[in-house]
């Protein structure tokens, strides 16, 4: 994306390294430092890992010896993890089963609802939307009781559906998409009506294309949150065979300490790639949902 922030400070033009740049660099370093520690640790062979990180791995007490580079880089841990840890694959697959159908559902259910809130005038719209916002703001644990009662009634506890179904009707994506549909240009919509388009056609021909960044944003944020989830699986999945990666990962340390860091890296890869790919859209989407005249 091009530089598009017109705010430039002209007084500090000649200074070699301004205070601002320095602060930005420190902040960026604070982000990268833990990530680099993680990458380095994932590339260490087992004996080096045990020498450096006995204490954090919970094996024995010894001072940690941090390093941003492995002394003898090796892919041992990744090979062990990807070729000889069937449990890891099961959990990875579980995460996929739980996340993707949910996102698809959010897309089909949420998009028309968001369009309605943003563009159609109907009685009670404002109050209904406030209800959605309230449901969005409430932490999971508060709605957990209600959810649990329904899932229990429907006999869905301890199954993938117990995570997928309530997730589809999460109100967060509706909120994000509504904001971005509101930013769609009015003139375009009026032109579509003048040409005789009905509400449904207007939704598909004007709504989807103009709200596209918002839809992508909602899906990306939804993916990140669902991929990272802990609360729901702890509450609803008793059977370890059904656990998603996010819940299994802390346990892997006890099983195979040597692959713990590599497992973390593998878990990070999908959301990081998704973000780097969708970065432009994400920013547009957040821009349209954040800026209002």
């Amino acid at each position: 994306m091009k530089e598009f922030y017109p705010y430039k400070n002209k007084q500090r033009k000649n200074r070699f390294l301004s205070v601002g740049t320095f602060i930005l660099m420190v902040s960026a370093f604070l982000v990268w430092f833990p990530l680099l520690l993680m990458v380095a640790a994932s590339l260490m062979p087992e004996d080096e890992l045990l020498w450096r990180y006995l204490s954090p791995l919970g094996i024995a007490k010894a001072p940690v010896r941090i390093s941003l580079l492995p002394s003898y880089p090796s892919c041992e841990a990744f090979i062990e993890l990807l070729l000889r840890s069937p449990g890891f694959f099961v959990m990875f697959w579980n995460s996929c089963i739980q996340v993707f159908p949910m996102l698809l559902g959010q897309l089909f259910v949420g998009t028309p609802a968001a369009w309605t809130f943003a563009r159609l005038d109907f009685p009670g719209r404002q109050w209904l939307f406030r209800l959605y916002v309230l449901l969005m703001v409430l932490p999971f644990q508060v709605t957990q009781v209600s959810n649990y009662l329904v899932l229990d009634q429907m006999n869905l506890l301890n199954s993938h559906l117990s995570l997928i179904l309530p997730g589809i009707w999460s109100t967060f994506p509706v909120f994000i998409m509504t904001r971005s549909f509101e930013a769609a240009p009015k003139a375009l919509l009026e032109a579509a009506y003048l040409d005789g388009a009905g509400e449904v056609r207007a939704f598909f021909l004007v709504g989807i294309p103009t709200g596209y960044p918002g839809i992508v944003t909602a899906l990306v944020l939804g993916f990140i949150d669902a991929w990272n989830t802990l609360e729901q699986p702890i509450a609803y999945l008793k059977d370890m065979q059904l656990w998603p990666l996010s819940l299994y990962l802390p346990d892997i340390v006890q099983d195979k300490a040597a692959v713990a860091f590599a497992a973390g890296i593998v878990m990070m890869i999908p959301p990081v790639l998704l973000y780097l790919n969708g970065e432009g859209k994400l920013e547009q989407g957040i821009a349209s949902s954040g800026v209002k005249e």
Binding site: Y5, Y7, K8, N9, T21, I23, L24, S27, V31, P34, L35, M38, S55, P56, V64, T116, F117, L120, D121, F122, F129, R130, L131, V133, L134, V137, P139, Q141, V142, T143, Q144, V145, S146, Y148, L149, W169, F172, F175, T178, E182, G198, E199, N228, L230, E231, I234, A235, L249, F261, G264, M267, M268, P271, L274, Y275, L276, I286, S289, G290, K292
Partner: protein
């Protein structure tokens, strides 16, 4: 009502139905049941009036959890608000590396808690990196257990800031990009320095963004439970014992009674807070009844 309007209402109904039905089924209707249970006795037969509410209100754990949650939000949200705004202004005015800084600072959003938690242990455990740095600086031995003591609150604050600065940063940057150059020029002609530009151009123009930043910060402040749980388990230091901990304890013992009652109290509390929030936002914006997401 003319025909056009009626047709619009029908379409609105059809478009909204799939979402609304699910929300009703999974959230609204069962919440009705929760409200009913909060007025009944433990077996779910006899009406006991406000008794459950008195019990929960008098419950020490509930009070502690509410107080800690509020304390955490009051500490962390203003800090995040100011810090992320400051960084976004710095990025907006930096000439080089805008994209690099932006990606760097946004990256923590996408890092799963479970994946990064081992690094947190490397940094914060008794034999960890921070104790080593502090020992080195102060020339005496530090062996503070950061996560299992009063400092746990600090650790969570740092974690929350690390994870969520990027979120707010994106929102602020979006707001900043919408401010036309001419406003800055006008301010500069009037002799405004960079602080005055922030005060008279940037802050007024970002009013629309502020509400959204606040709401999302609140939503995200409950997600810090993931890190708290992974670092300190389900019985953490009392200073970070928050509502999610309390609810998961009640959930394990299936204390539906208390959970229902507390849920009702919290929904009412959140509703009131939201009402106040809307009133303030409406006051700022001088909206004339026009619908808006805020």
């Amino acid at each position: 009502m003319n025909r056009r309007q009626r047709r619009k209402n029908v379409t609105a109904g059809l478009f909204l139905a799939p979402s609304l039905c699910g929300v009703c089924l999974f959230s609204v209707l069962p919440f009705g049941d929760v409200v009913r249970r909060s007025f009944l006795d433990a077996r779910g037969y006899a009406f006991v009036g406000m008794q459950n509410f008195r019990i929960v209100w008098g419950n020490g754990a509930f009070r502690l959890a509410v107080a800690n949650t509020l304390r955490f939000m009051i500490t962390v949200i203003p800090v995040l608000f100011v810090f992320s705004l400051y960084l976004s202004i710095l990025i907006a005015q930096s000439k080089k590396g805008q994209r690099l800084f932006r990606i760097s600072l946004v990256l923590p959003i996408v890092i799963p808690a479970a994946a990064i938690i081992l690094v947190w242990k490397i940094l914060f455990c008794t034999d960890g990196f921070f104790n080593q740095v502090l020992s080195f600086i102060s020339k005496r031995k530090w062996d503070l257990d950061w996560v299992n003591g009063q400092t746990a609150f600090l650790v969570l604050t740092v974690t929350y800031l690390w994870k969520n600065t990027g979120y707010d940063l994106l929102l602020w940057l979006a707001g900043l990009s919408a401010i036309p150059e001419s406003l800055y020029d006008a301010a500069r002609v009037d002799g405004a320095g960079s602080l005055a530009q922030i005060r008279y151009v940037i802050l007024p123009c970002l009013r629309g963004t502020m509400g959204l930043v606040m709401v999302l910060s609140v939503v995200n402040s409950f997600r810090v439970y993931r890190e708290a749980y992974l670092l300190a388990g389900s019985y953490p230091d009392l200073s970070i014992y928050m509502l999610p901990h309390l609810f998961s304890h009640w959930f394990i013992t299936l204390d539906v009674q208390k959970m229902s009652t507390a849920a009702v109290m919290l929904v009412v509390g959140a509703g009131i807070a939201m009402g106040i929030f809307y009133a303030i936002v409406a006051g700022i914006k001088h909206k004339d009844g026009h619908f808006s997401a805020f």
